[in-house]
């Protein structure tokens, strides 16, 4: 697959068509509480500015409301996700970078971003479920295979450079 660039992201997501109407920002549940200006993200991206270095990019909850309403059919949320991928590749993590790292570690060691705690395990058996759910961590071989899959994926490479 071809390497993504800001330009290719802009083209694929139709950001060039943006008319700066602001319907995205006005719809954004997050921008009401913080400095995220969705419209500005799109504008900066198509100007080729280093939007992926800004922290606002990480304020988006990926709720897709903006993309849903954009009259020009700009794939706004998809673009934001691609820009985040690009930020990660270029080692521009938000201040919150530690947390995703833990989630990725959990994913690696248990197959789940949110692992089972002993407390919840107890609750499971009280309410009549298996103490431990059947999943990727149930079977050692499965987990090994899962880890082998993860090992070769780009996700783990970015994790390491951090």
């Amino acid at each position: 697959m071809e390497e993504k660039t800001v330009e290719s992201i802009v083209n694929e997501g139709r950001a060039y068509a943006c008319i700066q109407c602001g319907k995205c920002t006005g719809s954004c549940p997050s921008g009401r509480e913080c400095g995220l200006r969705t419209r500005k993200v799109i504008h900066m991206a198509r100007l080729g500015m280093d939007i992926y270095k800004t922290e606002e990019l990480w304020d988006c909850t990926t709720c897709y409301t903006c993309q849903e309403r954009c009259p020009k059919d700009v794939k706004i949320t998809d673009i934001i996700i691609e820009l985040r991928n690009m930020a990660v590749k270029n080692s521009f993590y938000p201040t919150m970078a530690e947390v995703p790292k833990i989630i990725i570690q959990n994913l690696y060691s248990t197959g789940n971003g949110q692992p089972l705690s002993p407390e919840v395990s107890k609750i499971r058996s009280i309410i009549g479920l298996n103490k431990e759910p059947l999943d990727a961590s149930t079977n050692k071989d499965t987990l090994k295979k899962f880890q082998k899959l993860l090992d070769g994926l780009p996700l783990m490479q970015w994790g390491e450079t951090q």
Binding site: Q20, G22, K23, C24, T25, G26, K72
Partner: protein, 649 residues
């Protein structure tokens, strides 16, 4: 046989992508080619003179021009060669611009293609036969479909030139959308004051036959001679007796119970009604969908309308009429509809009662409207008003990517009118871009701003309701700040979509539509009032969103084209039609089944078919199917097409 071949550069349009000297080299010396020249602009005077001179000097009997699309300049060059005495049907064009230099990126490939195309044209030209066009008489009358401002203007212009004009309007009155307005931007003329006199002129004009409450049912024929069937819906009122006194409407049992289309559903009417007081013709109409007698066969003891009508104009036994007319030309002026904002659910139209559309608000301003011109919305005078622009326009998601061209300005007009009526109102316009391009429009925009209307850039994201109050959310894109405004009235600047009738009218006339679904003009710049169907013209918003000045200008343009045609006694009929070799015809009637126009006629005595020249349109369908090969399709004969195939492969 002497063929002259001329390769056009079109400035750099062709020359940049096609190696013209190479084309000339490849063509010179081909069979029958007497001369091959290149020139900068073949369609210019010197270009055309060059051809004329060569015909005269060298006795060329075939000419090929390799240039733009024949749809652009074939008529030009046909006239050129005819000037010099050559038969115009011996002229042939190779399209090396639209379908070659403009669409390809490899010069070598484009050059090769150009050579192939020119060779193919030379081969075809060598087999072309001189044809003589026949003359057909022109019916000196016109049909205008749609009685909005555009249709009215077109009808008046044609009628004033002395030609009989039929104006067909599907509603009970002419006037169209403009009749619904109180004031018009940017001059704030009273719409009725400028429109009503024109409407009356139409009704009184000796050359105009006004057919309201009527629809076109069927059209056939072609330029100069269209045959049209019109359905006149029954009004259930005798037009000769009704005095327009209105007593019946007052008396109707359903008075004030039926929502009025003209008032956009805000006002109410009875089952017998006129859409508005200045209606032309001022004839009352009974709405069969609602009238108690027509629907249930019984209206109380006796119909009140009938009881009160002194002249006895009510006619429940009136029936649909079908009228046949012949006309030489047709103007389509079917106008537009307002975009229905129901699908833009984030704005809450249909859900929140104080969210309304632009056209609905127009009726609120009208002194004859549902509130008598008072700015009362659902019982109260609004104080906080928000306008939202571009609703249903510039919107790819709902498939209306175009700008509607009038909403920026009608929003400015409506904001002004509201401010005038409610001086202490807070009025905010949330806009995407301000498009004020017409004469006096930017000035009007400034005036409205000066009056204290707040323009905030950034379009509304959504409307919500809390404790009976509306709130509009948006980003002020100039501040880069999201904000919310309370509103007791939200006006949606709804855009324009084609009249729903465009489908049926378009099909009857075989008109093309552009991607926006409005009717397609023959050329966006040079023939904006023509269609590709000869003798059919466009006026007003039927062709695309337009304000009143542009609608009127285009209507006059269409009318002048109609008159250009109608002043002619005769026009030349294309000789590109089918001919039958009666000796070869086996009388199988295949062609009769295939022809959409009933042009092939079976001769019972000779047991063969002949073609009615006046009716054949030259599609060639019959020629393609004739099992005995007896049909010759002029100008597109089998051998002419095959010669082209052989050259391009």
């Amino acid at each position: 046989m002497k063929v002259g071949v001329y390769i056009c550069h079109c400035g750099v349009n062709i020359a940049n992508m096609v190696d013209i000297p190479k084309v000339v080299e490849a063509i010179s010396g081909q069979t029958n080619v007497a001369v091959c020249k290149e020139y900068q602009y073949m369609c210019s005077d010197p270009g055309q003179n060059m051809i004329r001179k060569d015909i005269e000097d060298m006795g060329l009997d075939r000419v090929v021009v390799a240039a733009c699309s024949p749809r652009m300049h074939e008529p030009t060059f046909r006239a050129t060669v005819a000037d010099a005495g050559m038969n115009p049907y011996c002229f042939e064009m190779a399209n090396i611009r639209e379908q070659c230099s403009w669409v390809h990126e490899d010069k070598e490939e484009a050059t090769q293609k150009a050579i192939d195309l020119v060779k193919s044209s030379v081969a075809r030209a060598s087999l072309l036969e001189p044809l003589q066009s026949t003359e057909i008489p022109v019916t000196h009358s016109a049909l205008v479909i749609g009685g909005g401002i555009a249709g009215i203007q077109a009808a008046l212009d044609i009628a004033n030139s002395g030609f009989k004009t039929y104006l067909v309007e599907k509603e009970p009155s002419i006037g169209g959308r403009m009749a619904q307005f109180d004031k018009t931007f940017p001059t704030l003329d009273c719409a009725a004051c400028i429109l009503t006199p024109k409407m009356v002129d139409v009704a009184r004009h000796p050359n105009i036959d006004l057919l309201t409450y009527s629809e076109v049912e069927h059209i056939d024929g072609s330029i100069g001679n269209f045959h049209v069937q019109i359905k006149k819906k029954p009004r259930y009122v005798d037009p000769d007796l009704c005095t327009g006194c209105g007593l019946c409407a007052e008396a109707c049992r359903l008075k004030g119970r039926i929502s009025s289309e003209f008032d956009m559903g805000i006002g109410k009417r009875g089952a017998i009604y006129v859409p508005f007081p200045q209606a032309v013709p001022l004839l009352y109409t009974i709405d069969p969908e609602n009238c108690l007698l027509l629907k249930h066969g019984k209206c109380g003891k006796s119909p009140k309308c009938e009881d009160i009508c002194d002249p006895g104009a009510i006619r429940f036994d009136q029936e649909e009429e079908h009228i046949d007319i012949d006309v030489g030309a047709i103007v389509v002026a079917t106008g537009y509809n307002e975009f229905s904002p129901v699908v833009k659910e984030e704005y809450g139209y249909g859900k929140f009662k104080n969210v309304m559309t632009g056209l609905e608000l127009e009726r609120i301003f009208s002194p004859s409207g549902p509130t008598g011109g008072n700015p009362i919305i659902n019982g109260t005078e609004p104080k906080n008003i928000v306008f939202i622009s571009c609703v249903g326009s510039r919107d790819k998601r709902i498939g209306n990517p175009y700008c509607s061209r009038v909403c920026c300005m009608y929003i400015a007009k409506q904001a002004h009118l509201l401010k005038e009526k409610i001086p202490d109102a807070n009025i905010t316009v949330m806009y995407t871009d301000m498009r004020a391009f017409g004469k006096g429009y930017e000035e009007f925009y400034e005036r409205v701003q000066k009056e204290g209307i707040r323009y905030r850039r950034g379009n509304a994201a959504e409307v919500y309701e809390e404790d009976d109050l509306l709130f509009v959310r948006a980003e002020d894109t100039l501040l880069g700040e999201p904000y919310e405004l309370p509103a007791d009235l939200v006006v949606l600047g709804t855009g324009l979509v084609p009249s729903p009738d465009a489908d049926s009218i378009g099909q009857m006339l075989h008109l093309s539509r552009s991607a926006d679904k409005f009717f397609l003009e023959a050329h966006p710049k040079l023939r904006p009032v023509d269609t590709v169907i000869d003798g059919v013209f466009l006026a007003g918003a039927a062709q695309g969103p337009k304000d009143i000045p542009d609608s009127v200008a285009q209507a006059s343009g269409a009318a002048s084209h109609v008159v250009n045609l109608l002043v002619k006694e005769k026009i030349h009929a294309e000789p590109i039609i089918a001919e039958i070799n009666e000796d070869a015809c086996v009388g199988c009637k295949t062609c009769i089944v295939l022809c959409p126009y009933e042009a092939p006629l079976y001769d019972d005595e000779k047991k063969v078919v002949t073609i009615n020249r006046a009716v054949c349109k030259g599609c060639g369908s019959c020629a393609a199917a004739c099992p005995s090969g007896s049909i010759k399709m002029n100008h597109f004969k089998n051998e002419q097409i095959v010669a082209q195939i052989l050259e391009v492969i």
